[in-house]
Each structure stands twice: as structure tokens, then as C-alpha cells.
């Protein structure tokens, strides 16, 4: 059940994510090729405003995007609509962004426990 607005939101977030995800895959290939350990990865990302915004943007976009996508599928498969569908959509979006933000904070700003 997509209106023009939800449709645009899904497409815009998709367009935003495309370079971010491709970039991320690139970094990963580079990182894995270099045989980086977790510590090394984190060493490069921690404290970096760039990486925080890079992943922060991704998390926000993907939360909205996936929520809308799942909403469509849920509606088409179960017929769920109205209020419940709305709660599901924005609940999913919120859940994903919270989880995502926690992860980003972990790899960027927050200091790790003693190792």
C-alpha cells in the first residue's frame, strides 16, 4: 500500500543508499584484502566524524527504506492495513534506527572496554 509520498521516500532513500552501500562494500574488500583485524578497523573508524555521518546516514535511510518495503510486503501477503500497518511501518523504522545507531556509536565514538 504505497502512496506517492511513501513511494518517493522509498526511492529517495534507495538512491541515497546506493553509493553508501557500494562504498561500504569497497571498503570491506579493501579491509579484508589488507587482512585487517577488528582492532585495526575500529582504530580507523573511531572518533571519525566522517565515518559517523557516512554510517549514520545509511542507518537512517535503510531504516526508512526497509520499513516501507516490509510494509508493502506485509500488506500484500496478509492484507493488514490502516493503523496497524502504520504502527508496523514506523515501529520497524524506529527499531532499526535504534539498533543501527547503537552499532555506529560502538564503532565510532564510544571507547571500547579494556582489552
Amino acid at each position: 500500500m504505497l502512496t506517492l509520498r511513501l513511494y518517493m521516500l522509498q526511492r529517495i532513500t534507495a538512491l541515497l543508499m546506493a553509493p553508501l552501500v557500494l562504498g561500504h562494500i569497497g571498503v570491506m574488500i579493501y579491509a579484508v584484502q589488507g587482512g585487517l583485524s577488528a582492532a585495526e578497523i575500529l582504530g580507523r573508524t573511531q572518533g571519525s566524524v566522517f565515518w559517523f555521518s557516512f554510517y549514520g546516514l545509511f542507518v537512517l535511510a535503510v531504516s526508512v527504506h526497509a520499513a516501507i518495503g516490509l510494509r508493502t510486503i506485509l500488506h500484500e501477503v496478509t492484507g493488514l492495513s490502516g493503523r496497524l500497518l502504520m504502527f508496523f511501518t514506523w515501529g520497524t523504522a524506529l527499531g532499526l534506527s535504534v539498533l543501527g545507531m547503537r552499532a555506529i556509536l560502538a564503532v565510532t565514538f564510544l571507547t571500547r572496554g579494556v582489552s
Partner: protein, 242 residues
């Protein structure tokens, strides 16, 4: 007269409303036989209680569409040999529409959505005025012409899984008609059309599954028409008009 050389086993959906089952019949196989002829033969000679619908019998009225071996088709113009390669023939009522009885469906939802999509000419002139000069080569006119020969048979509607899942979805045929009107220089309701196709059941629900264009017996391309609507609505939104 060619004598039937063999018979063909045919399963036909029988039932009223949502309940029913397939039943099998042995139907003589003739040259030049269409699927509609097979169905008619059963009603004429084997089981007179079989219900189905047809009118023109030449692919013009769009009232004979059924699921033939799981695919939506007009039956009056579908030669049996084309679909019964392995000698199986399974005929069921058109998908995505309520069944009245056996092979006859209630097409009202299809037409209700047609009207809901504002797929109805919005007059810009009266019978007292001259007919408008429209150049056949005009780019917009060509877009309008592309889908104009739709016979509203609902084959595309049956092919589309979005229609199956989303009760509000207006469906390929109605949207294609809306797109045709949107490109018709004589239509005075462009904004109305864009608004009608942007709601909860509108063109944005299409996932480009392409079944509509794949199965349209007139080789029309509703998928392209819907893409056109998506583009037009996107543009209107960016301009703040939607």
C-alpha cells in the same frame, strides 16, 4: 467434415463463489478448435449446467478470458494446439476476480477501479464545437495511441500479483487508460487523473512485475504506461503540484 480422431482430457473448474473443484471431461479434439470451443462443447453435449461467458468470439469484447493451464488468456482466440502441447488442458475462471459460477467471474471490481482511476474522458468541448485538430505524429498523441486499443478483458489484471495481494490496487488496465487520457490533448482532467492515481491503490504500488505486458492479448504495454504515470506524478510532486 473432419471426424474427431481422438479426444482430449480437459479439467474444468466447477463451483459457485469461493468453493469448487476441478472436474474432468473427455472432449473430441478437432482442428481449428479454440479453448472457447472446448468449453462450449462441454456445455452443449456433456454437461449442460456449465457456466461461462463470451460474446463476440473474435477477440473484441473481452468477456471470455479464463485461466488456461494457469495462464490468463482470451479463450475465443486461443487455439487449443497452442496451449495443450502435452495434452493437458486445465481451464479455470480468471484470477483476481470473484467467481459467480464455474468459469464466469464478476468483473465489477475491475470496472469500479477503472472509474476510480479517473480513466474516463474529461470533456473539454461540446457537441456544438468542431472536433479538435490533433496531429497524428505528435509525440503526446503517440503515447496516447499506444494503449488505446485495450478491450478491457482483464487478462492483465489476472496476471498481476500486486492485484492479487493489494485489494485497493487499481491494476494495469485502468492505469493504462488513465495514462492514455493524460496524454490526450483533448482531456481537461489531467490534474484529477494524477491525483486519482497517486492514492493508496495508485500506480506507485506497481512492482514492474511485467505480467500485464507479457500476457496482454493485444500486445499492449501497461507496464510502460504505469512507468509513465510514475514519472508524471514524480515530476508533479517535485513541482509542488501533488
Amino acid at each position: 467434415m473432419n471426424e474427431p480422431v481422438k479426444t482430449r482430457r480437459v479439467s474444468i473448474w466447477r463451483g459457485e463463489g469461493e468453493t469448487g473443484q476441478f472436474e474432468t471431461y473427455d472432449v473430441p479434439a478437432y482442428d481449428n478448435q479454440t479453448v472457447l470451443d472446448v468449453v462450449s462443447h462441454i456445455q452443449h453435449y456433456i454437461d449442460p449446467s456449465l457456466s461461462y461467458r463470451f460474446a463476440c468470439r473474435v477477440g473484441m469484447c473481452g468477456s471470455c478470458a479464463m485461466m488456461v493451464n494457469g495462464e490468463p488468456r482470451w479463450t475465443c482466440r486461443t487455439h487449443v494446439n497452442k496451449v495443450a502441447g502435452q495434452d493437458v488442458l486445465e481451464i479455470a475462471p480468471l484470477r483476481n476476480l470473484p467467481v459467480i459460477k464455474d468459469l464466469a467471474t464478476n468483473m465489477d471490481p475491475f470496472f469500479d477501479k477503472w472509474v476510480k482511476a479517473e480513466a474516463v474522458h474529461h470533456s473539454s468541448a461540446s457537441r456544438d464545437e468542431e472536433m479538435m485538430v490533433v496531429l497524428p505524429d505528435d509525440a503526446e498523441r503517440k503515447k496516447a495511441d499506444a494503449g488505446i486499443e485495450c478491450i478491457n478483458c482483464a487478462v492483465c489484471y489476472a496476471a498481476c500479483d500486486t492485484v492479487a495481494g493489494n485489494a485497493d490496487y487499481l491494476g494495469p488496465a485502468a492505469l493504462q487508460r488513465a495514462w492514455t487520457l493524460y496524454n490526450d490533448a483533448r482531456d481537461a482532467g489531467k490534474q484529477t487523473i494524477l491525483e486519482a492515481v497517486s492514492g493508496a491503490g495508485g500506480c506507485h504500488n506497481c512492482h514492474a512485475q511485467g505480467g500485464c505486458s507479457h500476457y496482454c492479448p493485444n500486445e499492449l504495454n501497461p507496464m510502460q504506461a504505469i512507468a509513465g504515470l510514475k514519472q508524471a506524478t514524480t515530476r508533479a510532486m517535485l513541482k509542488g503540484k501533488l
